[in-house]
Assembly symmetry: C2
Homo-oligomer: 189 residues x 2
DNA sequence: CGGTCGTTTCAGAATACTCTGAAATCACCG
DNA sequence: CGGTGATTTCAGAGTATTCTGAAACGACCG
């Protein structure tokens, strides 16, 4: 392995690790993924530990979490009891998986909460009391804000689903958005 | 102010605060934004401090950060030396601002790093040595991975810019996505 | 079964991040 | 200018998150 390649890999791992914070996952988890992605070949726990200088426990937990996200997979070598892991190599598949998970983990629960919040201030209840003309207006304005927020996330969720669902769709979507993009860009794998 | 409204506001603030982690900002910053958004009216530092039970320093820093993100703005009341803050009320404008900032803070630097990494393993250098047929293949595979990643983020950046730029576009974009992929989708802009 | 190799778990240590509060700074007023 | 009140800053305290390492667990083998 050339020195330049190793350096480039390390650099990539570092850069990907930086992003972690902004994406809401731990640095190490991102680094483990970066490593598997950029190396390309399956690696076992010990390989990962050594290359990233992390503990066995940390490696195990990070790999497990990446499996839960569906962006790495297990494999085995004949006559070897160890488990090997490798990352999804297709960048669009990778991000489809990430979008799928983030919708499920963040957007859906958020929408559920927003619906509940909306139900806390029903418009008709506000109308009952006469004394509080002012309150009624406040509640209506509040409801409008919540409703618009709900609407936004519903649209976002739909876009997400469209991006995620039929494999290969992601690229078409992007191409569409960009107007005329060179068509051959990303045919089926 | 009705009790139900206050409770709903608090709930909204809590939910928005939860999201913070996943979005790479601090909980308090998200809560301050949620408060200003859901209340609608301008509030001064002391109002924020009292409602969220946070220190003056924390409130000041959070408000400053939100100003930097461009999602709240300063205002003043005649004959009052205090500064008041209010959140952008239009949900689509809000998210346009967020997308704009995240592109600038995350995607652009990432792309710059990826270009650098790509330049660390020029294909021609790999071709020089004869001894390492194997290394050459490795480097080419590596370069392909980096190139695909670059391409992905370039597309993402373009989509982002399209979403962000002309005001009002966001909604059209979304509507477009939700229609059944009409042909005229990406006409000139 | 007992042994061996590999994986998972988790309490406590290490680290990173956030918040506080008081002092410094700023801005306006008379 | 000096005074008043608002705002910013930042070192240290407080919290939350992540990591380690060793013990428990699991799985296969002879």
């Amino acid at each position: 392995m050339t020195a330049a390649l190793t350096k480039a890999q390390d650099q990539f791992i570092a850069v990907w690790g930086q992003m972690a914070g902004a994406w809401g996952i731990s640095r190490t988890m991102a680094e483990v993924h970066a490593l598997l992605f950029i190396v390309g070949d399956p690696m076992c726990t010990d390989d990962v530990m050594e290359r990233l200088q992390i503990s066995r426990g940390n490696a195990s937990m990070s790999l497990r979490a990446l499996l839960d996200w569906g962006i790495i997979e297990r494999s085995h070598k004949r006559g070897d009891r160890k488990e090997y892991f490798s990352a999804e190599q297709d960048v669009w598949s990778l991000f489809r998986a990430i979008v799928r998970e983030r919708i499920a983990r963040e957007v859906d629960p958020l929408l559920a909460s927003l619906y509940e919040i909306r139900d806390m201030t029903p418009a008709d209840r506000a109308r009952r009391g006469e004394a509080a003309e002012d309150d009624r207006a406040k509640i209506e304005a509040h409801n409008k804000r919540i409703d618009e927020m709900v609407e936004f996330f519903r649209v976002l969720e739909k876009i997400g689903h469209r991006f995620v669902s039929p494999s290969g769709r992601g690229l078409q979507l992007a191409a569409m958005l960009l107007g005329r993009l060179p068509e051959g860009a990303g045919e089926a794998r």
